[in-house]
Amino acid sequence: MAASHPSAPAPGEPLSFQRMILTLHDYWSAHGCLILQPYDMEMGAGTFHPATTLRALGPNPWNAAFVQPCRRPTDGRYGENPNRLQHYYQYQVILKPSPPDLQELYLGSLAAIGIDFTRHDIRFVEDDWESPTLGAWGLGWEVWCDGMEVTQFTYFQQMGGFDCKPVAGELTYGLERLALYLQNKDSVYDLAFNDAQGNQPQMTYGDVFLENERQMSAWNFEVADTERLFDLFRKATAECESCLEAKLPIPAYEQAIKASHVFNLLQARGVISVAERQAYMGRVRDLAKGACAAWMEKNGWAA
């Protein structure tokens, strides 16, 4: 597998960021997952990807893995904090129904990217997951590697307010954290993004994303026009509602994602008071749940 690639690192060398992703793709592909591409919309977590949210509903089996960029405007630090980013990557695996050996499969993926269980301490620490925005919850763990949380491991119990029948297992790897760990680096910007190859020099994560963090932080916190953002929020919610009326759950869900992201931007601009916050979140939740309900109805699935 990996060893047959021309760009494979020498044995014992830690994987570069992209090699780690490719290794996970190979691993989960070999275990029967569809390898999807990121959804082309801004979202706060991989769970928002319709391949997770909507596919977690209903009776049909679904096994997929993909990278999803996540945007959390309030976490931006202008590129000055070694661990916090307003844009980063999650690796998302969803297996439905959850296979009986899900923990072993997961540990196999860690071994594949080079984690040695005779030297490292892996633990499953209780973490019950809940997304008020998606009307979803599940039970599971944060997986710790030597005290660092590297994965969220969740058995979905409800999505969009509907019981999951059957239950899906969801794995969400924090890719930058894992890479920091594997490559033994202290700053995300020092991560080796790739492996040097012929004329292509080795690039760092900072080479690729540092300027992006600086500019996007400035925009998120200082520049984004709040009037236009409020307007966008209104338009997205209105659009979502007309999609729901037209019985089009997928576009409705997209507009809910959009509204959610605009809300996050408004939060970063500090223009939503504590009191209003709940109301906005409630609005997004209603839209997302509405889209899930429409999806159930469209497919003829009973709650």
Partner: protein, 782 residues
């Protein structure tokens, strides 16, 4: 006799649930056995992250045969009755046993094999298991009826002796196979019987006994600290949590950069403990050291070098976040932070935190200015006789001037009030700091650090730090007047505000922790012996509804006071229509309930508290407790017990005769004229005794003696109560004991002569009323 082993293996069970799960397993299992008539005293349970196990020793191989006898109709009964009984029991006439003219059905039940009982008990226990949170999983979860467990159930070991107990639940078949440690020994191991379970697992790197894992962690962590010349900060909660996260615990010592020690030690400890589950260490001087102990779940081939390295990195990242927050917060004065509190809603009906801060600041100042806090130094807590300062309590004309006790040592009252107000105005400012945003548990503490750093008076900084105290029973109770003022004002404001808008705790629902706030107020008032009346405060806050602003708190005025004391709700509403809707009284009752809960632990009888509260009108808790304590001492004496018996006899007679109860408010000095209690007693038997002087018809010597004793005891008890010398009041009542006993011995109340009868009833009514000057004895049990 045979041992039984049950192991329920699952994916990782949350650490916090393991202890209760062991208890539940033992309880449910014993109950299932009991249903089949089996009993065992020897159940041991174990829990690890991946298994919940039980060993029951010395079970019989079968349950005992049982003979059940059912009583039927009499042999003389009509044939229909016999037919019905035969139908019910499924027996024939010949199978019935006849005894003493009655039919009995006797059914002999053979014993059952214990293995069969167990095969039924296991699925029953699993099906009924009360996990705090449980889940569905896998293919079976296509229906919501599928088995729920804390995490997916992976295997069952069920061995009775050396034999597998055949059973299956949700596709998991019981057997003898389990697995060892997830990484050290992931393969299958076969258990022989209960006797080799613990040893076999140990050989496969699983310490199944949680107590053994805890001891390992405790001892090894201490030893590591000691070897580094440090002392471990012991933390049993962390010991248990780490034992719940590991099957093979290996404590390891790591270090962090000295530079982080500039962050307050509480922050470091909290970060290490809450986020990472690490122990921290102190150096020889007792200061926090730059070392921590984490607990790994493997014996690493490199001795844990990589694990320590990784954990150090994680902690460093966390501490650098904390340091960043701390340093950023230090740059902003607390006043500036406090100005942002108007953005935080305290409660939708109660405005913002800034509004609350303003109320608390005014109240804290008032508590000091009125001398309620800091007005007099707390007297010795051992004496039961209270000589209160009465500051802010006494009313005009009551003959008691507010004490002008010298204010707190070294500070004038005005200066102290300034400090209290200053502290109150800054007390909530840390809520908008970065550090408290990250670690809400550090509220107060961080404010104290920031206040000290910006040069506030040390008492102001201490008050900001400690104003949330006491948090529950056992927490330190503030004693510094500045802290006491802010702490009380904050909690009182919360209580009064929520009660004012009618948001009271109900049942198990107490989302704003009002019970805890009330307990905190009680602890503070009692520990500092403060004389604080609750009702005026309630009215003060309520008055905002009328005026739109908070004036200085003021005392109750005559008619409202009177109506409050007598609990005349109708009158209260007329006098003050918009400010009182019974919520104030609900708050007093709420405090009474909390007081009973709180005092129960101190060994004070709740019925005695009831007896004093039942008089109505008492909202000074220190005074109330003094009275309760005197009462408890008194009813413990022979005089007290006999007086209580005499009282109950008198009260029963009066009740039977329909003589109405009197009301004698508990509040000392309340009646205004200072001369003791105004009689409010209805004549014993209206009409019949009008104009009759009871003593003039006293024909029996015992009757006259009781009358004379009452003549002396009544004013003595009333005076003592007015002086708040409750022991003297009890002593005055004690003088009634012998005359009452003699009266009941020698006198018949129900005399045919109506005048004699009325006079005797009147005497009894006087007894009841005299006793009620101290407490409503009818509430006393026994």
């Amino acid at each position: 006799m045979t041992d039984f082993l049950l192991e329920l293996r699952s994916e990782e069970i949350p650490a916090r649930m393991q202890d209760k799960a062991r208890d539940d397993l033992a309880r449910l299992f014993a109950a299932e056995l009991a249903k089949a008539g089996l009993h065992t005293d020897a159940i041991v349970t174990f829990a690890t992250p991946r298994r919940l196990a039980l060993i029951a020793r010395d079970l019989p191989d079968a349950t005992a045969a049982v003979s059940e006898e059912t009583k039927g109709p009499k042999t003389s009964a009509p044939p229909q009755a016999l037919e019905g009984f035969l139908r019910k029991t499924g027996l024939t006439r010949e199978q019935l046993v006849e005894r003493d003219g009655v039919f009995f059905a006797v059914v002999e039940r053979a014993g059952r094999a214990t293995a069969d009982v167990l095969a039924e008990a296991i699925p029953a226990v699993i099906g009924a298991f009360p996990w705090p949170k449980s889940m569905r999983w896998g293919e079976a979860s296509r229906t919501t009826e599928s088995l729920r467990w804390v995490r997916p159930l992976q295997g069952i070991v069920a061995l009775f002796g050396e034999d597998v107990v055949p059973c299956e639940i949700a596709g998991v078949v019981a057997g003898a196979a389990t697995v060892g440690h997830r990484f050290h020994h992931p393969g299958v191991i076969t258990i022989g019987s209960a006797s080799d379970y613990v040893e076999k697992l140990h050989a496969c790197h699983v310490v199944v006994d949680q107590d053994e894992r805890r001891a390992l962690i405790r001892e090894r962590a201490s030893a590591l600290a000691e070897a580094a010349g440090l002392a471990l900060v012991e933390d049993e909660g962390l010991v248990a949590e780490n034992a719940g996260l590991t099957e093979w615990p290996v404590p390891l010592l790591g270090r962090f950069d000295d530079a982080f020690l500039s962050v307050p030690p509480e922050v470091i400890q909290l970060t290490a403990r809450v986020n990472q589950k690490y122990f921290v260490c102190r150096d020889r001087e007792g200061k926090l050291a730059n070392a921590f102990v984490c607990t790994a779940n493997i014996d690493a081939v490199d001795g844990g070098a990589k694990i320590v390295e990784g954990n150090q990195k994680v902690l460093a990242a966390r501490l650098s976040d904390a340091k960043f927050f701390y340093e950023t917060d230090l740059k902003v004065p607390l006043e500036e932070q406090a100005a942002k509190l108007d953005r935080i809603v305290f409660h939708e009906k109660l405005g913002t935190v800034a509004d609350k801060v303003d109320r608390v600041a005014k109240l804290a100042r008032w508590l000091v200015e009125e001398g309620i806090v800091g007005g007099s130094s707390p007297s010795s807590a051992t004496t039961t006789v209270v000589t209160p300062a009465q500051a802010g309590v006494s009313r005009d004309g009551a003959g008691q001037e507010p004490h002008e006790t010298p204010a707190f040592a070294g500070a004038t009252k005005e200066a102290l009030a300034d400090l209290a107000e200053r502290a109150a105005r800054l007390a909530k400012a840390d809520l908008v700091t970065g550090m408290v945003g990250e670690f809400p548990e550090l509220q107060g503490l961080m404010g104290g650090y920031y206040a000290a750093a910006q040069g506030e008076d040390p008492r102001v900084a201490a008050a900001i730090r400690d104003h949330y105290k006491p948090v529950g029973q056992g927490d330190d109770v503030p004693t510094d007047p500045v802290t006491v003022a802010v702490s009380l004002a904050d909690k009182l404001d919360t209580l009064i505000q929520f009660f004012r808008v009618g948001d009271k705790p109900t049942g198990s629902k107490d989302p704003f922790a009002l019970r805890r706030a009330a307990l905190g107020v009680l602890q503070t008032i009692i520990a500092n012996r403060l004389h604080l009346r609750l009702m005026p405060l309630f009215l003060w806050f309520s008055r905002k509804e009328e005026t739109g602003r908070y004036d200085q708190p003021s005392l109750l005025e005559g008619p409202i006071e009177e109506a409050f004391v007598t609990r005349d709700l109708g009158n209260l509403e007329t006098l003050s229509p918009r400010i009182l809707s019974g919520n104030g009284l609900a708050l007093i009752d709420f405090f009474a309930d909390r007081l009973k809960v709180q005092q129960r632990e101190a060994g004070v009888r709740h019925d005695l508290i009831d007896a004093v509260f039942a008089l109505g009108g008492e909202d000074d808790l220190v005074r109330l407790l003094a009275r309760v304590r005197a009462l408890q001492a008194f009813v413990g004496t022979e005089d007290g017990a006999n007086l209580l018996a005499g009282y109950k006899r008198a009260a029963n007679i009066l009740k039977k005769e329909g003589v109405p109860q009197s009301v004698t408010p508990a509040q000392a000095g309340v009646s205004g004229d200072g001369a003791g209690q105004e009689p409010r007693e209805a004549p014993a038997s209206a009409g019949a005794t009008a104009g009759v002087d009871a003593t003039s018809v006293a024909t029996e010597p015992a009757e006259a003696a009781l009358g004379a004793a009452l003549d002396a005891a009544e004013p003595a008890a009333a005076d003592a109560v007015a002086r708040e010398d409750f022991e003297a009041a009890m002593a005055a009542l004690a003088t009634l004991r012998a005359p009452i006993d003699a009266f009941f011995e020698a006198v018949m109340v129900n005399d045919p002569d109506p005048a004699k009868r009325a006079a005797r009833l009147d005497l009894l009514a006087r007894v009841r009323k005299a006793v009620h000057t101290v407490a409503d004895f009818s509430k006393i049990e026994g």
